[in-house]
Amino acid sequence: MKITVKLYAVLQVGRYREKELDFPVETKVGAVVNSLDLPSEHLDILLVNGRHVDREFLLQDGDVLSLLPMVEGG
C-alpha cells in the first residue's frame, strides 16, 4: 500500500519534506517510523490524516503519516 510520509521541522534536515512510500498491508505506524531511522529524541507527534495516533495504529492504503517534533514554549 502507498503511504505519504510528511516530515516537519528538524526531521526534514538531510531528508525530505514529503515522500510516497510502499509498505505491506496492515503495517503499523511504529513499523514505518522504525524504517525511517529518524532521531528518536526529536520525534514526538504522530498524525495520520491529521489525527493523533500512537505507534500501534494500523495504516491503510493512501494514508498520510505526518511526523513532527515536540512543540516547545519559550
Binding site: 521541522a9 528538524v10 514526538d44 513532527l68 517534533p69 515536540m70 512543540v71 519559550g74
Partner: protein, 611 residues
Amino acid sequence: MRFLTDNPASEPTSVLYTRCTVDLESGCFLMEDVPCRNLEDVLGGFGRSFQMLAERDIQSAYVEENPLIINVGLLTGSHAMTGMRTYFSGYSPIKQSKKGLPAAMWSAGSGKFGAKLKWTGLDELVIENRSEQPVYIVIRETGDRPEVTLKPADHLLGMTTHGKIMALQEQYDDAHFAAIGPAGENWQNVYAGAVALSTVNQLKSKQDKVRFAGRGGMGSLMGYKNVLAMVAQSSDKLGRTPEPIKKANINVIKGGGSARLQPIKRGGGGGTWAAYDVLQAFHAVPVNNFRPQGNDLPERLFRTKVEQQYEIKSEACYRCGITCHNNIHERKADGSPGAFLAKFDYEPLNLLGTNLGLHEAAQVAALIHLCDNYGMDAITTGVTVSYVLSYNQRHPEKPLFNGASFGDYDKIHDLVKCTGLGQLPEIGHGVKRLSESTGETDYAYHVKGLEIAAYQPETNPGYCWAIAGGHMSMGTYGMLAREGKTDLDSWVAAITRDKLQIVGFDMIGLCKFFDIVNGIGTDMVVDCLAAEHGLKVTREELQAAVKRAFLRGLTLEIRQGYGKEEYCLPAEVTANPNHNITLPDLTTPEFLAELEKRVWEIFDREMQELI
C-alpha cells in the same frame, strides 16, 4: 543561604536565607538572616516572594507599599545547568482584576546577573518605597556579608537597556547587571516594562544580546521606584562540578530533555522556533491577531527560510550547554556573520511578526530589537498592537492612532517606538484597558488582564488558570497539538496536577528547559540538591511544595478581586470559532463549562485546605 539541617522539608526553619531590605525613602538598609517557613521559602523565587506579597494589602501597583522583590532560587549560581535564574516579584501594573486591584506577579530571566547576585552572598533584595532621584543599586561581595549601596543614576536616564549595561560595565569589573529601558522609566505610560539581564556574551561582544524578565511589568515597577539598574559584583564561585550534577547536566543535554532546543548543527531541534513548523501543521500559528487563515503565510518565518538570507548563531548563557538563543545576524559577502539583528525565540518572533501580518525576518528583527532596547515585554506589546490593527481593519473609516494595518511595517514600527518612549499610553497600558476604552473586548487577547502567549487559545483552555502568564505558569499549551488530548479527564488532571508543576522552575533557579516535561520533582533535581547543598529532599516533597506555591498564587488572585468569570478565554474564541485550525475544537461552551466546574471543584477544595 545557611543550612543547619539536611532536611529542609521537615526542618525549614533551620535553613536561613540572607535578605536585604532597602528603604529608598530613608536610604536605610536592613540585612538579616531569615529562617525559612516552609520548603517553598527554601526553594526561593516566587515560592518565597508570594508569601511576602500575600502579607500586604495593596490596592494599586504604583504605591510605596508595593515592594519589588528580587531573588534567586536554591540552584541559581549552582553547578546545575541553567542555574542562572533571577526572579522579580511585586504587584503588577499591567495585570489587574476587574475590581481594579493589581495581581501579584513574578517574572524570571536568565543571563548571569542571578548567579552573580547569589555569589555576592545575597539571596533576596526587597525594595521598599521609592526614591526621589534616579538611583542604581550595587550589591557587592565583601569579606563575610554582602554590601548593598545606592548610587545616583542621572547619567543613565534615557539610555536603552543595553546602553545602561554598557555604561555600568565600564565602571564595574567582574559584575553583571539588571537594567530597565525607556519603557520602564516611563512607567506611568508603559505598564509592561521589562528588566534586562546581562549575559557574558553581551559583555564580551558589546552586542545587545540580553535576556529579559519580561512579563507583568516588573520593569515598570522598578521604574516607578526610580531604580534604573542593579549591579551584582562578585567573583565567580563555581569550581569542579560534583559527579551527580555532572551526570544530571549530561542528561539534560544528551538525554533528550533539551535536545530539541539545541542548535541544529549539533543535532538539536533549533530552539523554540521549531514551534512554528509544528503548529503550522495544524494552522495554529497566530496570524493577524490570533486569526490563523489556513494558508502558508507563517512559513515565511520558518527557520529554513530565514537561514537562506541570514546567519543564525546559536548561543547560550554562562556554562549552559542547551544553547537556546537563536541570534540572527546579517550575512556578509564572505558568508560570515555581520551585524547582530535580534534574537528569534518563538514568542517575540510570532507576536511581533506573523501575528502583526509581518513576514519579513528583517522587519520582525527590528521590532524585537526595539522592544528589547526599550525594555518592553514583547508579548504584551505585540498583542496590544495586534489588537489595534484588528480594530483598524474593522473600522477603516475611524482607525486608532496612525491608522496602521496588518503588514504595514512603517506604521507598526512607529506604534512600537512611540509606546516604548511613553508617548502612547493607550497601547502602553495593555490590551485589556485599550479594549475596554473602545468597547470592543471580544478580540482582545488577554486572560485575567495579561496578554496571552503565542499559542492559540483555542488549543489551550489551561490559559485561564495560569497564574503568571499563559505559557510560563501553566504547561498545557502543547496538550492538544502535542498529545492530541481532547477528553475532560486529561485536561482536568493536567491543569490541577501535572502541568502546573512547570512553576517549580520559577522557584528553584533553573530554566524550564532543564526538564520541561517533568518539572522539578525528579531524581535529577533531587540529586543536584544533594550534591550542591547536601540536602535530602524527595521528589514528592518538591512536587508538594510547587503545588502549594501555585495554590497560594491562585488564592492571591482571588484575594485581589478576581471573580471566577474572569478565568476565561478571549470571547472571540467561542463567539466566532476559527475553523481554519485543524485541531479538534476544545472550546465549545459545553466543554469549557464542564472543565471550569471540575477544575474549580478541585482547586476550591485545595485552596481551602491550604488556608
